[in-house]
Amino acid sequence: MVDASLTLAASLAEVTRARAWALEQARAAGLGEDDVFALELALAEALTNVVRHAYGGQAPDRGGEDIVLGLRVDADELRITVTDWGHAAPPAQAPEIDLDEPRTGGYGLFLLEQLMDEVRVSPGDGEGTILQMHRRLGVDRP
């Protein structure tokens, strides 16, 4: 159905462009509105995190090839892969939330987990991070 990728620089303008690209692909593949909405939110969260945290808000000198966004839509599953070469790899699992510090962050992965059926974070090849997210399509989520 769809198996495509997009390379982008680490900037918020590029995040906007990548989201528009992904949504167009997803709609063309016939995803329902709920699934498109979850994709839109997940990409906003994941890509913005990479720009802000992995790259510290500044695009490095990598010739505009800082993030690779992979999008695959099968009949029953949406797969998103976000690869970066920045620092600050997030922890491998959603962190336990510290109730003594309710105002600190740590919501990024928590929110992604709510939007997707599976979220996996692994170290990249030598540097950076690979974020993989799966969402089953057209199923109920009570």
Binding site: R19, G32, E33, D34, F37, E40, L41, L43, A44, E45, T48, E96, I97, D98, L99, D100, P102, R103, Y107, F110, L111, E113, Q114, L115, D140, P142
Partner: protein, 401 residues
Amino acid sequence: MTIDVTLVLEGTYPYVTGGVSTWVDGLVRGLPDLGFAVVHLRDEEAPRRAARALPANVCLVLDVDVDPERPGGTAGLHDVPDGAVVHALSSGTAAVPGAALARARGVPLVLTEHGLAWREALNGTGELESGRPPAGARRPAARAEARLAWARDLAAMARTGYAEATAITTVCSANARRQRRLGAPAARSAVTHNGVAARWLQGAPAAGPGAGEGPLFVLVGRVVPIKDTMGFLEAARLVLDAEPRARFAVVGPLDQDPDYAGGCLTRSADLGLEAAVRFTGEADPCPWVAAATAVVLSSVSEAQPLALLEAMASGVPVVAPRVGGCPELVHGAEGDAGLLTVPGDPMACARAMLRLAADDGLRARMGAAGRARAGRRHGPHVVPSAYRRVYERALADRGPA
């Protein structure tokens, strides 16, 4: 009367009708020996008129403006008199002032979330249970960022409440699991089921439509986007194409989101439903439920809806979306009380209505199962007795003052 419980709530009792407001009414009336103060968090300029008569044990209703910058001299939290327990009913933000008040007065905090506001923000619900749209949600360009920021803020506010509360409650185990994932400690968490007023369980089960009449499908709920009234209309059109005698009623106020309600009336006319669908406005749902083939919800988000409990108590089968606490209500040891549908899918909703209309035996079995479950688990006393225990335990855990 001394104040035993200070309720901190938003966008609900005593100003609007709807599930949470009815729940509070049942709580305060079911505990007549306890004195209640109601702290209502206001986020708008216009003064409000109480939609409900207050019982004698509601000693005071205090409007507190959530925007301290706004001129007009409404009360602040420091104006709230002392009570023994603070009970915050959060549909978004009330956990934070509730926690602040409990801490300032050195009293225990009980936190109840019917729906989970951060979840509703992520679901794309255009309106939170409190009636407020998430900030910025209507600006399409900023939609995803605004949603995420709002969901993050709401999650942080809920966690502020979890950190302070001696008891954390919600109305279904689906929500309890999500609260725990967000950090609510299991030892302090409990599920407290909703209950229906006694009149729903008294008397004979509902008779349904009269002999020779077509099926009647009744949506009980405010005409607002979160209930997806528009989707119900689409489903009604599909049912009518297959069963021209079918009739429909939307029983609930039209004034909570006038633009949306106006859109629904227009859509109803465009779909050629004017003769088949009746919008009653605010009305007693009891006679409608009693005459119904099934009570139908098409909501995109629900906690443990009273509309379903009242239908079940009346022995009327339900058609409900697979969201929030609906599956736990429909399935149970007594048997299925109705059919579950996919939210946002009018075809699925229509199929469920037609299936019930066509099968007298199925309808009778589901009606009886629902009535048995409602009688056993959702009677009029479940909420007051559960919260009497919650309050007593919160005070005992805190020890003598």
